[in-house]
Amino acid sequence: MSVYTSTLGGERHRFGSLARLLAAASPERSGDRLAGLAARTARERIAARWALADVPLTDFLTEPLIPYEDDDVTRLILDTHQRAAFAPVASMTVGELREWLLSEAADPAALAALAPGLTPEMAAAVSKLMGNADLVAVARKVRVVTAFRSTIGLPGRLATRLQPNHPTDDPAGVAAALLDGLLLGSGDAVIGINPATDSPKAVRDLLELLDGVIGRYSIPTQSCVLCHVTTAVDLMAKDAPVDLVFQSIAGTQAANASFGVTLGLLDEAYEAALALDRGTVGRNVMYFETGQGSALSADAHHGVDQQTVEARAYAVARRYDPLLVNTVVGFIGPEYLYDGRQILRAALEDHFCGKLLGLPMGLDICYTNHADADDDDIATMLTVLGVAGASFVICTPGGDDIMLNYQSASYHDALYLREVLGLRPAPEFEAWLGSVGLLDDRGGIREIAGTTHPLTAIGRELAA
């Protein structure tokens, strides 16, 4: 293993491996402290960044952070690396890559061409040298467009996941929250429910409920009930109306095992979903969620820092050309991201790395109530990630998820973001909003009295 060194203020710093160097260069966060990987002092952190800036990108191809023999994510990363796409940056160091990404040479076409030539570790490394503004500036240039029944990721657009969760999966409760979201112009990325149980019957009932509404009102969107991939595979075999296959994924084989998934299982689910051919404008059929801290919480991080191991999950995601990927950025708790400042930084890193690696990145901008964060942090993150060009955000009624007990963005927050940044919904969904009278003459969402709109039949029948 290589040793990396730098001298800062007359003090010599030594990092025994690339993994240790990356961890020490990471911004302060509670999860890396918990794992015993964080820089011990502020000076050591900056010394690590000096050393990291001089590391040739090719080192990441010859010194895997987790051994090739031990981990199928490492094998996936190295086996699918495209040398030709890597060629334009092959002679660069991490520091030089940062400057190139920020330069005009790195235009949307160049960035798209580069994506398969970058490994997650390269993306994570360069992000550690970037300020928050750098992460915004570069991510904003990256375009990743995907489609199923709506098109996600076009310039000037922001899609939303409508999340009508209910703690007992009560159909009327779900329908009520669904109606609320639709009337506020939400749901073009996906109508996605976290079910209270993973039981196939409960999942199927919810899928049929959503499929019924989408069909009856001809809504150009897709549904997803976020069950385990094996449940989705079984349901697809039994003709359940599955649009997107969902799975939580992580950046190591062992962390994925703790989720009960393997690459083989994901391959099987991907093929099954493609075969259903339920999309109308595209064939991106997968939906993945990730988030910093999951590998540590599964004791499966192999000494790799929280953010780098998160970026490795994106290598798993991109194998399946997903419609949507989002980091659930503040979900796990303050032992991984302590406060609003750490959550914002992680959100920008995840969004940047995912985009750079070619993924349609969105975010669940969120926190738990034991983290040091509040609704102002949501507003700040939402604004900054909107400027950075996030493909979609997750929205819950009033920003309060009563099933998962955490705080997220609200349908109102998405209206705000579209308004202040001049962003519009996905084109197919926008046309539908117009056709059902929900668009005002400026292209915003018309304020509808609850009793008067035809869509209220969605809730009216079930509430009776």
Binding site: H166, G173, D180, Y338, N405, A463
Partner: protein, 262 residues
Amino acid sequence: MTEVGEVTEVREVTEVSVPNDDLWPALRRRTQARIGLGRAGTALPTRHRLELQAAHAAARDAVHSPFAPDRVAAELPGMPTVRVRSAAPDRLTYLQRPDLGRRLDAVDRAHLPGGAWDVVFVVADGLSSRAVHEHAAPMIRATAARLPGWHLAPVVLAEQARVALGDDVAAAMGATAVVVLVGERPGMSAADSLGAYLTHRPVPGATTDADRNCLSNIRPPLGLSYDLAAEKLAGLLERARQLGSSGVGLKDDSDSDGALGS
């Protein structure tokens, strides 16, 4: 503006805040979700913004309110209690270092009374001291009443403590089983939810969440009642003793959420 106290009271105000509208009140009876809030431009009306902040404040206060073991002890007449702390010295450290919250302070460990205990109840503040202040003592009384003939250890009142601290306690006292009553992670509609985790013959450092049985959302009158929770818990204790183990091998007919307070 309304007076803001209990979150549940605030929510009732929401019910009547949309006059001349028969749909949202009907829908709101089917979900606690904050639906039909109306708009001020693209934002929330003032009342709803403040209601959300009030609920968040209640949750934050639940996380940061200090644990008062005396309050719990006072509600356990006739039952001896022992106070301990975890290895986490303060709340800030506790929130960032769950590993420390799972270990007993070394001095406190030495002071725990050993004995041939069948079960020890551990009251752990977890992430909501409010939950343990309100629900832990009645829950212990209701459960103990259903365990005739069991040799109960003194109740351990543990500060800055997570679920696995109970493993350390049981090992130090020589108890066969441990029940940890812990304040769960507060949501905005429930800041006082108590969880109960049963572990048979725990081994500190080796026992995992898969070895535990959990009852969550003990929070009458809106959540699980003391009688129902105690009935389930006493039943689980009896069956764990017969089976010689707890966890996935012991049928758990209740909701389980390993993420809460663990």
